[in-house]
């Protein structure tokens, strides 16, 4: 067997045969051992922090890759204070996150669309009840390469490009494109577990999950869409607005005409609803069981209290003041329900 022979010979040489140059190798190993020792010894985050309350435990969050950056920012800020609470944030996608949530595997589910009927059923089967809390607003941005002269796309054009069965392969085939552009069309988009995928397909193609399949499927890794569109002149993709803000200059967002004229996505147009139909709220869904734990409650309060700042930090569209007070009320009511039960 070739691999076996290969290994055998390699190992034989090392174990039996002539010595190599020890001195230089020893020096290198010393250097690397030093590197490893320093790396293993340092406990950077959270050590030595005072923290008022004695909170401890692990909070598991999973779900949308769009919402994840805010949750990560909340987690990082929250963990800077009480040292014993660990918050982990996964990105299995809105759908994947709900699956785990409804099995009781996670405490909070990130979602870039509202929970669906069948997911609610699955959760109630396992006796998991939850709350829906809006933490930020978002617009789905349609990303184009900076060299693409097109600035505005109508929803009809988007449907023509993205709908199931579409075989548009070049920008020149798009109806009524202004100005004209002849590059080959290269599509990048999220996978079917993504809330962004669900939302976009429903808003543009009329039915959730309905879309052509011959596109670069980046799964939950929206950064690959950024890279893909950035690197292809005729490239086009869609993801949450934060990715545009994060990659200023590398991409541009198309204005979307939903019937009321071309509207560019921005904090204002998303908050006042004029960026239609691609504006949406972003949710977190904590389970009632998890909220009963003090560290989770504290985290949620922290999250909502700082939601606007966190959203801005993560380049999202922050909550309106109205939305924020609504969310805070919900958190309070969760707490008082708990008190009532006790």
């Amino acid at each position: 067997m070739s691999e076996n022979e290969r290994l055998e010979i390699h190992v034989k040489q090392l174990i039996r045969l002539a010595p190599a140059r020890p001195l230089a190798l020893l020096a290198l190993s010393g250097l690397a051992l030093g590197v490893a020792a320093c790396g293993g010894g340092g406990e950077g985050q959270g050590a030595g922090a005072e923290g008022g309350e004695q909170l401890s435990g692990t909070i598991n969050i999973d779900g949308s890759s769009t919402v994840a950056p805010i949750s990560e920012a909340a987690a990082a800020a929250f963990q800077a204070e009480p040292p014993d609470v660990r918050v982990t944030v996964g990105t299995s996608g809105t759908g994947g996150g709900f699956e785990k949530f409804c099995k009781g595997e996670t405490d909070i589910s990130d979602a870039s669309r509202a929970v669906e009927e069948d997911e609610m059923e699955a959760c109630s089967k396992e006796n998991i009840s939850f709350e829906e809390i809006t933490v930020a607003n978002d617009g789905i941005a349609v990303a184009l390469n900076p060299q693409n002269p097109v600035t505005c796309l109508t929803t009809d054009q988007l449907t023509q490009i993205w709908d199931k069965g579409s075989d548009v392969s070049s920008w020149s085939q798009v109806d009524g494109l202004q100005p004209s552009f002849g590059q080959e069309l290269k599509l990048f988009g999220p996978g079917t577990d993504s809330g962004t995928f669900d939302f976009f397909t429903e808003a543009i193609n009329g039915e959730e999950g309905q879309q052509r399949t011959d596109y670069n499927n980046v799964g939950e890794d929206d950064n690959q869409t950024v890279r893909g569109v950035q690197g292809s002149e005729g490239g086009m993709g869609y993801f949450g607005l934060s990715f545009i803000k994060e990659n200023e200059g590398k991409l541009k967002a198309a204005e979307v005409d939903g019937g009321q004229g071309c509207v560019a996505p921005s904090n204002e147009t998303v908050q006042d609803g004029s960026y239609a139909p691609l504006g949406r709220p972003l949710f977190i869904y904590p389970s009632d069981k998890a909220v009963k734990r003090p560290e989770v409650k504290a985290f949620l309060e922290f999250y909502v209290e700082n939601a606007q700042m966190l959203a801005e930090q993560a380049l999202f569209v922050p909550l309106t003041d109205e939305q924020k007070s609504e969310a805070q009320q919900k958190i309070e009511s969760l707490g008082s329900q708990q008190a009532a039960v006790r």
Partner: protein, 315 residues
């Protein structure tokens, strides 16, 4: 040594005063060690078992015909389509470019090291090759996306430059990755050729070129071919380089400038996305995994057969 092992020495008994008593301690130890060795059998069994169940369930839902003969690969969509050909072609496409680099240049490097190089050069170059083999694939993947792809796109002169994710970058980098394996194994095979053959060739007036290519290489053919097959195996099974550099679109094409998805990339991308156990998407991972495992298994069998067939035994 072999026969001595299983004989009287290892029989765990004690002879004393004509009575033969079994030594239970020895027997126990032997059993424990046998169990350790059996873990390897368990692993193979585990791999096959983990693949077979879901694969059978998969093919109860999806016809063999659709899987092997249709060309639309969209397993996560509704309605899902399961034509596996695009990702198989993607794998073979990248493998082709990898072998295009690794086979000729690996063999060339081996011939040089074995026949031409001065001992000092050989002592420096051989360790460099060994180091190349030990570099983790993530480093090669990083190299492909951050250096090779931009370079190719900048220097491309014939028609449309390669896409941001393309077959060629992944293939070339994989070629450099596999080259040391081919070179090492071939060189070992050529070193094993007895000197007498070479001397005979030179004595008959052959030039170095002639002796190398007409005497040494044919004599070492079994090992050389084994190295090619091993390179092929490694190329097919490689995951990280293609995941980073080749793309995520099940695109049926032979154009090396386009993005494709390989079987390994599909498994990695879908499997790391936390699909629920029992869904058809989950089972698709196993079906493709079975296909991959079967291909590498068959390739290995072929390599054994080839080695046996062409092996020249020297007294």
């Amino acid at each position: 040594m072999a026969s001595a092992k299983g004989s009287a020495i290892s029989r765990p008994t004690v002879r004393g005063l004509g009575i033969v008593r079994p030594r239970y301690g020895e027997l126990a130890i032997r059993t424990v060690l046998l169990a350790c060795a059996f873990v390897s059998v368990l692993t193979t069994f585990g791999i096959v078992a983990s693949l077979v169940g879901p694969t059978i369930e998969f093919f109860q839902a999806v016809s063999l015909r659709e899987f092997f003969l249709t060309t639309d690969w969209a397993p996560t969509f509704t309605p899902a389509r399961f034509g596996v050909i695009p990702i198989v072609v993607g794998t073979l496409s990248v493998t082709f470019w990898a072998l295009l680099i690794a086979v000729p240049f690996g063999l060339g490097a081996a011939i040089y090291l074995s026949e031409y190089a001065r001992p000092r050069a050989r002592r420096t170059l051989k360790p460099i090759l060994e180091v190349l083999e030990g570099i983790p694939t993530i480093a090669y993947g990083f190299f492909a996306v951050t250096f090779v792809t931009p370079l190719l796109r900048e220097l491309w002169f014939a028609g449309e430059p390669p896409a941001i994710f393309n077959v060629l970058s992944a293939g070339l980098v994989m070629g450099v990755m596999i080259l040391p394996t081919v070179a090492s194994l071939s060189e070992d095979a050529m070193s094993a050729v007895p000197r007498g053959l070479r001397e005979g060739g030179y004595a008959l007036g052959g030039s170095k070129l002639q002796v190398s290519t007409r005497v040494v290489v044919p004599a070492a053919l079994s090992g050389i071919v084994a190295s090619f097959v091993l390179g092929f195996s490694r190329a097919i099974g490689e995951t990280v380089v293609v995941l980073l550099a080749a793309g995520a679109i099940a695109n049926l094409t032979l154009d090396p400038r386009e993005s494709v998805q390989t079987m390994t990339a599909f498994i990695a991308a879908t499997g790391s996305g936390d699909i629920a156990t029992g869904t058809i998407t989950y089972k698709t991972i196993f079906a493709v995994g079975s296909l991959l495992f079967t291909i590498t298994f068959i390739v290995n069998l072929i390599s054994i057969w080839l080695v046996r067939r062409y092996r020249q035994v020297y007294s």
